[in-house]
């Protein structure tokens, strides 16, 4: 009888087996190419990557080829993986977390989920671009920039200071992603640099002049590039990622770097940490070390157009130097205080 076969528990088991077969039978998901894999005793570890596969996997393959260490990677977006790691707690299968923003790293650090990094790794990146307690290390930097519609404006028409975007000097539409970590760390930086009162005034002025809300940086860039938004606040690297896909000459959106020291030009960092249970995992340690090695840093410069954080390595061509963007008064660890920023944004009706 058809009904019986359809409902038999065996069908479920068979379906799961079928699927498992399909999935493991796919050679391309195997992180190590068997023909080049060095001895198996080189060790292995599990990486949770909040950075995209297309950008990170070549670096991991390079690492594996050099060290023989097998890396099992779980890709996801940084926010979801951060929530996942908090949920997993000590039971996590992950050894290393590679994060798209410092907020997620700070949250995991605050929950005591990271093992302290050895000094040579934690100290590879200068103060201000990494954790203050050595719980995670900064890997790359992304500058906050203004993206604008290059067909409607010239670079000179755009103000050099973030204040002038809200006090009447700039009349175009302005897009922000108030729920996004990078916008919130900009607001935090504003509070730290110019004080609570000025930060609130800036937001009130923004509210008064009007703004367009987006879910993330990518959507702001897309809208600007499509000519439906005049300008928006994003991280620089999204522009380069899209330019790599469609060709830089075809980009309608253009970037404006604000004046050095302005809260609108802060640098957000990506970073990595080792989970508490994996402090003794040499393979995991070797990978984090590789991220802040010259080779790892160069990879990000050349492939993702991000700022290297280790001294002595040049920024991507065509970008202002990291030093010119850094505000000496701003300690990145001050940006941990997202809660106050979120309360402010909530009170003013942004989130």
């Amino acid at each position: 009888m058809r009904a019986r076969r359809f409902l038999a528990p065996a069908a479920l088991t068979a379906a799961i087996a079928l699927m498992a077969g399909c999935a493991t039978g796919d050679p391309s998901t195997d992180p190590v190419d068997p023909t080049t894999a060095p001895p198996a005793d080189a060790g292995s570890f599990t990486l949770y990557s909040g950075r995209d596969e297309a950008l990170v996997q070549p670096l991991i393959d390079q690492f594996t080829a050099e060290t023989g260490i097998a890396v099992e990677v779980r890709y996801g977006n940084t926010a979801e993986l951060g929530a996942l790691l908090l949920e997993e707690g000590e039971a996590t299968p992950a050894d290393v977390f590679l994060s798209q923003d410092a907020g997620a790293l700070g949250a995991l650090s605050a929950a005591d989920l990271f093992a302290p990094l050895p000094d040579d790794i934690a100290g590879a990146v200068p103060q201000g671009f990494t954790s203050t307690d050595g719980s995670w290390v900064g890997v790359t930097g992304r500058a906050r920039v203004v993206v604008y519609d290059g067909e409607r404006f010239t670079e000179a028409e755009l103000p050099n200071e973030i204040d002038d975007y809200v006090d009447g000097d700039f009349a175009g539409s302005l897009g922000i992603a108030p729920g996004n970590a990078s916008f919130q760390s900009f607001v935090t930086a504003y509070r730290v640099i110019d004080g609570e009162g000025d930060a609130e005034e800036w937001l009130s002025d923004l509210d008064a002049r009007g703004y367009e809300v987006f879910e993330n940086n990518r959507a702001i860039l897309a809208a600007t590039n499509d000519g439906v938004l005049d300008a928006g606040l994003i991280n620089h690297y999204y522009w380069f990622a899209q330019a790599a896909e469609v060709g830089a000459d075809n980009m309608r959106a253009q970037l404006k770097f604000l004046e050095a020291g302005d809260p609108g030009s802060i640098v957000n960092v990506t970073g990595a940490g080792i989970l508490a249970g994996s402090a003794e995992n040499e393979a995991a340690l070797a990978f984090v070390e590789y991220l802040v090695s010259e080779e790892g840093q160069r990879y990000f410069v050349e492939q993702t157009f991000e700022y290297p954080l280790v001294p002595g390595i040049d920024a991507p061509e065509g970008l202002p130097s990291l030093e010119s963007l850094v505000n000496p008064e701003l300690d990145l660890s001050d940006l941990d205080d997202l809660a106050t920023t979120q309360e402010l944004l909530a009170r003013l009706g942004f989130i």
Binding site: M1, R2, A3, F6, L7, L12, A15, I16, M19, A20, G21, C22, A23, G25, D26, S28, T29, D30, D52, E53, A54, L55, V73, Y75, G76, A79, E80, G82, A83, L84, L86, E87, E88, A91, P93, A107, G179, N180, A181, Q184, E212, F214, E215, A219, A222, A223, D226, G227, V228, A244, E245, V246, G247, L338, A339, Q342, A346, R347, F350, I351
Partner: protein
Amino acid sequence: MTTIVRATEPTVTGTRPPVGLVAFAVVAAAAAAIPLVYLVVRAGETGLATIIQTLSRGRVLEYAANSLGLALAVTATALVLGTAVAVVLTRIRVPFPRSWLLLSSLPLAVPSYLAGYGWLVSFPSLSGFVPSWLLLAAVTTPYVTLPVAAALRSATGDLEGVARSLGRGPIGAFFVATWPQVRPAAIAGSLLVALYALSDFGLVAMMRFPTLTWGINSAYAASFDRAQAATLALLLVVMALVVVAGERGARRQLPRTTARAVRPRTISRGMLVSLLPVVAAAPVVGVAVPLLGLGTRLVQADTLRAVDVPRLLGAIGATVGVAVAAAVLAVLLALPIAALAARYRGRLVSAIESVGYLGHALPGIVVGLSLVFFALAVVPALYQSVVVLVFAYAVLFMPKAIGTMRAGLGEVPPRLIAVARTTGASPLTAWWRVTVPLALPSLGVGALLVAIATMKELPATLLLRPTGINTLATELWNRTVVFEFGAAAPYAAVLVLIAAVPAMILSGVRSTAKEEL
């Protein structure tokens, strides 16, 4: 052709359901309640004061009102449009009725985020309530069209003709004669639409219409505040329970009639042409325009590269595999709940059924995290295995099977079971031998709906999949986040094509096997 349908006895009320059935239903409801337990635990950790503070802060109430308004508008639109399309395609002689019904089913295969993305390619300035409403309505209308068309085709009488001959206008006649017969199907479909609209994040994010799911996401993404996210998600649960209760109220008393099938009416060519926009609206808005947009992006992409065929095949295999497994498991879990709700009333039955619907009202990230929590606490060995992933799909999409299966099981005449009992069969044997086979089409519909939804699911898949396993949805996500539209397009196309297969099968299924009685 004349179809003979027997009158169904009214739902048994006042009798106690068998203990065994209740036990199975409670187990299934417990599975569906995992996200709720998780949310209560997480929100409870902060205490009442923080919960109140979270609910009263910033734009939370505005988000909630947006969620509610969107769900209402989408549901009303899908209900009216879906019913209208079903009536046109079954009651009016249109050219190629089967093809039209098949076309009407296709929006089911398009994930909401893909529909949103496709529209934005051609019309980048779209944003806010109206596009969110129209697009969600387009991709959810088949949830109403298909069951109503099935109900209309299966068996109803030409009471409408009678009503019209008694002087009613066409619309009046429809409400008097036909609506009561398709109402259960239409309302059950509308419930799925409402829950879909409440839980959707992908489309509202693209259309920049901030709803509660948007708030939940940014609570995770920017604040890493799980308690705050849980509180907002509980607000969503409350809304869902209101919707489910509303559906139960609206579903009541099904008038049954013995009658003959209706021949499609012939109407003038001009009338037919004027009906075209009604029938074509959902497929055009939900399928044609988005796919056209994606196609344009594909042509524009500089980095059009060769498709990694083994990888694509791997993703297809994983997608089909999890979808089949999830469909089977979701139907198994939904079966006792549907069987209980089909025949019995009472508080316990209502509670069990309501809980069964919860998973579908929550965004995937919440259900995904709740199963991380559950799996690590209860079956750590199975964590990040396919078993937990499939279980999560079943929790998320079981509601898609409950309604249709309840209707299917409810329409099997109890008299037949009584006859089987007189031959000495036990209640369970009688149910298994008589009821289940007769309701099999409805079980199939439930399974297909779950399979389609599973293929498109993204957030829970990202959280729970075994490391290294990719479905078409995760592969698509992988590529669009880095702007690789050229590389993403084949995955998008294959995803829609594969999900279209069960959708097309659905368009041909009848609600019950009445003709075989």
